[in-house]
Amino acid sequence: MQKIGVFVCHCGSNIAATVDVKKVVEMAAKEQGVFHAEDYPYMCSEAGQSRIAAAVKEKGLTGIVVCSCSPRMHEATFRKAAERAGINPYMVEIANIREHCSWIHKDMTEATEKAVILMRAAVAKVHLNAPLMAGESRVTKRALVIGGGIAGIQTAIDIADAGYKVDIVEKTPSIGGRMSQLDKTFPTLDCSACILTPKMVEAASHENITIHTWSEVEKVSGFVGNFTVDIRKKARYVNMDKCTGCGVCQEKCPSKKPLNEFNRGLNTRTAIYTPFAQAIPNVPVIDANSCIKLKTGKCGICEKFCQVGAIDYTQKDEIITEQYGAIVVATGFDTIKLDKYGEYAYNESKDVITSLELERIMNAAGPTKGHLERLSDGKAPKEIVFIQCVGSRCSDDRGKPYCSKICCMYTAKHAMLIRDKYPDTNVTVFYIDVRTPGKNFDEFYRRAVEDYGVHYIKGQVGKVMPQADGSLLVQGVDLLDNKQILKKADMVVLATAIEPNPDVRKIATMLTASIDTNNFLTEAHPKLRPVESPTAGVFLSGVCQGPKDIPETVAQAGAAAVKVIGLLAKDKLKTNPCTAKSDELLCNGCSQCANVCPYGAITYEEKLINDHGIRRTSRVAVVNGALCQGCGACTVTCPSGAMDLQGFSNRQILAEVDAICR
């Protein structure tokens, strides 16, 4: 039999204005097992909490009901108060008489009646509460960063600098990500490689950082502090220890057909390749789909020319298993496919390109060695049209409903750079809105217009028509002039919407992290916990969470690192004690519960059971309390009721039901 104390909070007038708190106290005192009932203006205050402690001491209370605001607000507060008063924190239940009562009802009688019922339900539940002990789990002091772009690199460096081991898993042959593909960065116009490469080197040479390139996360199990991750290290066919990165193999490779992914397929590469000159590690990989030796068994030229004998055609994919305490997702983005936008003639003309492709064309290491050329005939374009919002801000299934955020600024950058380097080239930008919130952003855009003479037209392009003479006829509208425009152009650049890397879905599923309808990872709270995933121990860095430019990405990467460091700094974590528990006397061993457990927390044992004196060996379910997150899916599949959830037991919930319906 519990001795229960009921504490009713006024919350100033938030509750007391609509609920007759005195009446609630009066009714509470009449409930069976209630030995103490009082009200107080602010139960959550220091003074309010000490009243609870005093009552516990004086009346020897074993259970507490607080009628106050939502448990999401102050349950933790009152549990701590109970603990200080010497009661198990899980002997506290909250009756939510503010959010669920006083704030939504106007009639005092009605609201008071409801508050009394909510109080009764909480009292009924506390009668069946049992003290629960939070378990402890060890924290593995190592973090995993998925994705080796600027977000992943920055997060890794920050974590490593704090003294913790970090592994980066990158699926391409080199770290660097999208930023390594960029030529210049806005709004300062400094060269992307010049600021990124030192970071890459820093990461690679950091004693606490291990980089797995050409690798993918295969499987994730475990929970916050104790993740076990299988990483597939894809066969590189090059021995990383022996290779000196001299590059002879790439010069000699006769297979020159495959499209160069790093240059967005604008030119080709060899079958053995490093994606770009500053790649880290500077060790090539062999693309098994185009390697003649691997496909036909004949060739072997790279092996012949490699002076250190680093080529190894017999390499196989390797799975390594590592333990981590925290996981950071930094999987970045890609541009959307333009197949559904026939009107822009992207698939018809080589001179209609995406901005990321232009980025490669402008880059000295790109397919045109940095010369602005038409890909169709190599001529210098004299008339360039930029089209904004291609696939962004689109409510149909062709594009994305969100603003890709970076396009306005990089288009201003591109336009400015072109006008600067090729003053005789005309640049026209069709835009819907120019969005420049950011430090020095609007100034930058205005410079493009005022100092560089970039022609901005408010309006959209309806159609791009490739002409027989190789030019492109652009049909657009100038909304301010209210005129339709037909413009001959040599090149059209599409500010293509960005989308999360398609692999993120797979990764999110493995991590049980939630993603939104656009495949962006969801934050634990959109404002207050923007770098954490709702899944404990999983953190978000960079564009995988939402469109961002470089400075924002780096800022978020640092923030994610701080959260990881905060987690790894702990030796042990308290586990949620509201876990499932199986009654082995009742368990049939039927395995239904294990089939629905999302955490693999249920296993089966052949156990010697003493059933009221009768000994038998039976197959019974056993719950791993550290893995169980307490969803309760198992409890409902269990026909015998052997599986129950602590803190939300069948009898507790039924008691609440009874109290409400009586």
């Binding site: 409510s395 959209q460 309806g462 159609k463």
Partner: protein, 126 residues
């Protein structure tokens, strides 16, 4: 007046509030230069409940119903449908009956743009 704009919304199934004023409709329109009220302006006429001006406009009869704007509108506003609905409102006002399928062949001549015929098929296919 407002009743008419409601009618247009109902017939067209279009929510003008979704328009973000990008102008892609006008950029796509093959009859743009013939029109006094441009396709992107249709939305604001309906929003401002100035249906009178809309039904009096030349544009109403210059629209080919090629539906380029309907297809390309990134917000699903479909100005072409609005124009179409305005026509219907007018026709209903005048109490005219529509053509029957049998009457059409006799009315065809070389002047009628092919596009118009195609779009009519597109529009009324079931």
């Amino acid at each position: 007046m407002s009743k008419q704009s409601e009618l247009i919304k109902e017939i067209s199934g279009v929510n003008p509030l979704k328009c973000m004023k990008c102008g892609k409709c006008s950029a796509s329109c093959p009859s743009f230069n013939e029109m006094d009220i441009k396709p992107h302006q249709f939305v604001s006429y309906v929003q401002n409940e100035d249906i009178e001006a809309l039904t009096q406009s030349k544009s109403l009869w210059k629209c080919l119903s090629c539906f380029a704007c309907v297809e390309r509108c990134p917000r699903g506003v479909k100005p072409g449908k609005l124009i179409d609905a305005a026509r219907q409102v007018l026709i209903r006002q005048r109490g005219q009956e529509g053509l029957t399928a049998n009457e059409i062949p006799a009315l065809l001549d070389d002047e009628t743009p092919q596009q118009l015929l195609m779009s009519a098929f597109r529009k009324y296919r079931r």
